[in-house]
Symmetry: C2
Subunit: 297 residues, 2 copies
Amino acid sequence: MIFGATPEAVRVGIGDDAAVLGVGDASLAWSVDVVVEGVHFRRDWLTPRELGFKATMAAASDLAAMGARPLGALASLVLPASMSDADMASLAEGQAAACTAIGASVIGGNLARGSELSVTTTVLGICDRVLRREGARAGDTLWCAGPLGLAAAGLRALLAGRSEDRALQAAIAAWRQPVARIAEGLRAAALAHAAIDVSDGLSLDAARLLGASLDLVMAPPVSADLGVAARALSVDAQELVLSGGEDYALLVAAPDDATLEGFSRIGRFEKGSGVLWLEQEGERRRIEPRGFDHFAS
Amino acid sequence: MIFGATPEAVRVGIGDDAAVLGVGDASLAWSVDVVVEGVHFRRDWLTPRELGFKATMAAASDLAAMGARPLGALASLVLPASMSDADMASLAEGQAAACTAIGASVIGGNLARGSELSVTTTVLGICDRVLRREGARAGDTLWCAGPLGLAAAGLRALLAGRSEDRALQAAIAAWRQPVARIAEGLRAAALAHAAIDVSDGLSLDAARLLGASLDLVMAPPVSADLGVAARALSVDAQELVLSGGEDYALLVAAPDDATLEGFSRIGRFEKGSGVLWLEQEGERRRIEPRGFDHFAS
């Protein structure tokens, strides 16, 4: 039975931010993410370098959510003939820059021709303690690391052709160059009960931390940059916070008295029935999880 | 320095069949492969189930070439709207069947919309001993597990619209349903000096085992199935063996007296200067490596 050891190696399967494999004493978090031209980006919205950076950070964000330290990345590119060698070199530079920022490197990959540009990134990391989506407890605080809503404002700015608008630069930068919250995830790993990264919007991803017996009462802040961008776009800043995608912020459920550098308190878990509440000026209203479904889009 | 441990973890980087990471005492082989509609396949050539099977086996073949035992696979799909839910379920069935055949399972993945169907598979395995491309020695025998040239004949049959031709069924099956030579790779790992899988054609992949101080003299056989298919296609069977792609046969350089179940002897390494020779009826002629360059195609 040369193959006998495999099934028990899977500690976390489909349904969390990453799969987790047990190898000896180590727990390895492993994830894959793809960005496709015309679906996730347009080439006039990003330089090739920015595309490589963003694709890598989006994949690495899943490691942050598992409390994993990155070991490396493999990149698989589908390249139309319109991508020059110089474009490809720039894309690889962006991937390398993102990997350097998270303490890893691109250690291999694959190239193929195709008519539609796509970048698939697979990342591997190692966990001292595995952070799962499930595990939040009544009484926990919801902590957040990273901006909320700003990337969604940036995407709207680009869709509106307003890439030069000064009031929208912080938002566009947040969309173009997200940051995987690796250091924050490692800090949280020892203390937190549960974690997820915000890729599809706060309300949708926060709801994924809820079991059937918990409610979550949130009062997420609106940053100064987001306020400026939302005014310039004439959209509701709070709506962007709740349903905007591609933040790659990190949410963790942890005790209120935890020391979590780089995180802010944005909500609390209570006994309940899987309901999400928004609290403003002492009043709470029930909200439905909604956001960006990458597959339906 | 939370990130300090990363660079030394990379034992094999870009340029071999898979990257190898050191995690504790374990050596993990990790690879990614993509198949793109219109480049690697057409949808009228394969059922969705066959596509899932073939994409998974193509990726797993890189693990065979490293002498690795598969731990699992992640699948990332880009799906056009023309792929129905039933098509997707069939594709996943094919992936699961391939994983079962190699003793692993699909433990996660990613779905995205796009206009061009592609299947990206990333696989992870564990090596007792890592097989590299370099390491062949003068005096070694070239051993081969798996058919050569047959998948290329199958591709030609499909390109010619002859999917119903009886003489071509074995060839078409070889193209549609390749087999990663995992068990053979594990058997070879203890004994072999070097290994590679044949994805781009025997002459091209065998040449990758040569250093500047080795020659390789080959006398690869033409199987009965290939003889039949080549006659039906009016092509030279030996040409298909030497330059046909997608065999996913396994080549290893090992002593001639090794006991390698499932392998045949098809050549030998001599002191030389990186030259490939074909031996027929006691005569040798020099051949140039040529085959299928997935990226240039």
